[in-house]
């Protein structure tokens, strides 16, 4: 149906498999394909490489790494919920030095586009991690996970405070290679996500990752205690998809040019398409990797088909398309390719 609106004819000869230009960009990070993994759902890519060729997707977003090795929270660390799950892993990881030596070196040698996710409990910790990553090779972008308690502000989560979030971004920018794009990952657990988005954009974020998990809780009715050892946990999976799409939509409305990496419950190509139409320039597949280890590549192929079926010749044409088609008069003019060089 949209074929008529866009007026695209199928490309090239009749026998050719329809090719869609799936390339996209997040600031000056150019991606050959728009589907990445989500932080904490793909480790550092090695395990998934057994199930599909990880160089065929947009890239790997690694598990958030901290300055020092970290054992994480006690078990049980997860609970399945309707169409989703809660996790309270507590950022278990090897620390940034071991990460650079083992994981990043492997990713670099494998030739994978790598987005390194970092997390800290103080502005200073973020700065020190950024500094350590500065001279490491194989980093295509940094994703700053700000859904962490700030020990210097009575454990207030950075992502919920526009100023604290902004300070983290400034610190990371100051200490990292100026050529490395900085994506800031936002939490949906705020009153107005656009306020945080605008604050981190002003502080120098090159792009936004939207969204992190939503805080949730399950009580085991047999033990009559919280199911997770950590009591609360992050809700992810298809259950949060409508919240995530809404967040992308709201941010795109107020920040027409900011690159957005959308995520939250993406299971199929059509789910990914919702995010693209809402304003995401690329997407991450997280929890559904646990359901289907080759989900990122499958979603990417399904997305290409879905775009083709709707008459799009390229992914870029579809970015923010839902805003253009929106009939409430508040149309943001988003021509194809608008976000390429922001």
């Amino acid at each position: 149906m949209t074929r008529a609106i866009i007026g695209r004819a199928p490309r090239q000869g009749p026998t050719e498999i329809p090719t869609i230009d799936m390339s996209t960009s997040l600031g000056n990070l150019h991606l050959l394909a728009p589907v990445l993994t989500a932080s904490g759902c793909a480790s550092s890519g090695r395990e998934l490489d057994q199930f599909f060729d990880i160089t065929l997707i947009g890239g790997i977003v690694t598990k958030s790494v901290m300055l020092h090795p970290r054992a994480g929270r006690p078990t049980p660390r997860m609970a399945e919920t309707p169409s989703g799950m809660l996790n309270s892993i507590g950022l278990q990881g090897p620390g940034v030095e071991a990460f650079i030596e083992r994981d990043l070196a492997w990713l670099d040698q494998r030739g994978v586009t790598t987005v390194v996710s970092i997390a800290g409990t103080s502005v200073d910790e973020y700065a020190r991690i950024a500094q350590k990553l500065r001279n490491a090779s194989g980093i295509s972008a940094i994703e700053v996970n700000i859904s962490c308690p700030n020990v210097d502000a009575r454990d207030q989560v950075f992502a919920c405070d526009p100023d604290a979030a902004g300070h983290v971004v400034q610190a990371v920018r100051r200490h990292s290679d100026p050529r490395t794009p900085i994506l800031v990952k936002l939490s949906p657990d705020v009153t107005d996500i656009t306020e945080i988005a605008q604050s981190v954009a002003r502080s120098g974020a090159h792009g936004l990752s939207v969204i992190n998990t939503a805080l949730g809780m399950v009580i085991d009715v047999d033990t009559m205690r919280p199911k997770l050892a950590g009591v609360t946990g992050g809700l992810s999976g298809p259950a949060i998809r409508p919240i995530a799409v809404r967040c992308v939509w709201q941010i795109r409305k107020v920040l027409p040019d900011i690159p957005i990496l959308g995520m939250g419950g993406i299971r199929t190509g059509l789910d990914a398409l919702q995010f693209i139409l809402a304003g995401a320039n690329a997407v991450s597949v997280g929890t559904m990797v646990f359901n289907d280890p080759s989900a990122p590549l499958r979603v990417q192929n399904e997305l290409a088909l879905a775009l083709h079926e709707r008459g799009f010749g390229s992914l870029r044409e579809a970015v923010s398309y839902a805003h253009r088609a929106h009939a409430d008069g508040s149309v943001v003019d988003l021509r194809p390719g608008d976000h390429e060089d922001s």
């Binding site: 480790s43 395990e47 998934l48 199930f51 020092h68 090795p69 054992a71 049980p76 660390r77």
Partner: protein, 284 residues
């Protein structure tokens, strides 16, 4: 390397309290070692149960018209296992495996005692078979709370050297627990290795008894798993490494089989203060 297979149910059999599912899985049998497990997708592609469930591989058939198949033993637990036991012949089923580190087999012809609690006996059949092929004794002890929770008593007789049964209510075999007679069995058969699969409490006791009787133990643990392939970090437990350092290790890829004397059983479900990266030493 694990496979992702769209299999088909060949057969569902009731055995006591359990259902045994035979599933087509081309390519999987030749990769499987005793102690490997698979994960099964729940409820089809649109299912609201998004996490896969883990099951020990009970048996594999390499050849046959199906190009390879395998069996799993399913005990009823919650909605996922209920859905599985309601599957019928020809239903499609989504399998990932073989996963994890299998049991380590002895290089020499030594005597081994195999201990299974409840459906924990499932992976011991292949193990007993392969041990016997290598000329090792494989003396099996199976235990459960009651007779219907025992799995495979008749079948395992065909592959084991001797079989001892224990039930807590005395409905079959000796009244009591597998661990009541394990020490005695290790001595009687002069066993060098104990293999065990079952509830965590049983494994802890088995590991202690093995140490006390100077036997090496291989325990297959059962931790809640979200991914089963090593990417999520939900399935961790404290294990002492070769360097003496305790780490929170992933039971899906570094296990499920661990040396019994390396798992800090009493600390499972906690982060021991001396574990690498434990909160006490954060920031040092």
């Amino acid at each position: 390397m694990p496979l992702q297979v769209k299999g088909e149910i060949l057969d569902v059999r009731r055995v006591g309290a359990y259902s045994v599912l035979s599933i087509t899985a081309p390519g999987l049998p030749e990769r499987t070692r005793p102690g490997h497990f698979v994960t099964v997708g729940m409820g089809g592609e649109e299912s609201s149960m998004v996490l896969r469930r883990a099951f020990a591989i009970h048996n594999v058939q390499e050849r046959g018209v199906y190009g390879g198949s395998m069996d799993i033993v399913v005990g009823l637990n919650g909605p996922g296992t209920r859905w599985l036991t309601e599957r019928r012949r020809h239903d499609p089923i989504d399998i990932v495996g073989p996963l994890g580190r299998p049991f380590v087999l002895p290089k020499e012809r030594v005597a081994c005692v195999l201990v299974g609690g409840g459906y924990g006996s499932a992976p011991l059949f292949m193990l007993a078979d392969q041990l016997r092929e290598r000329g090792c004794r494989a003396d099996v002890i199976l235990g459960a709370s009651s007779e219907d929770k025992l799995f495979g008593v008749l079948e395992i007789k065909r592959v084991c050297s001797t079989l001892t049964i224990t039930t807590e209510d005395g409905s079959q075999g000796l009244r009591g627990r597998v661990t009541d007679i394990l020490g005695e069995s290790i001595e009687k058969f002069d066993a060098a290795v104990v293999y065990a699969c079952g509830p965590m409490g049983m494994l802890e006791a088995v590991a202690d008894i093995a140490v006390a009787h100077r036997a090496y133990s291989q325990c297959s643990v059962e931790e809640s798993m979200a991914c089963g392939i090593g990417v999520c970090m939900t399935c961790v437990l404290p294990v002492i490494g070769d360097d003496g350092v305790t780490r929170m290790v992933r039971s899906c890829v570094e296990g499920p089989v661990f040396r019994g004397d390396r798992v800090r059983w009493e600390d499972v479900g906690t982060i021991p203060a001396d574990a690498l990266g434990a909160p006490a030493e954060a920031g040092t």
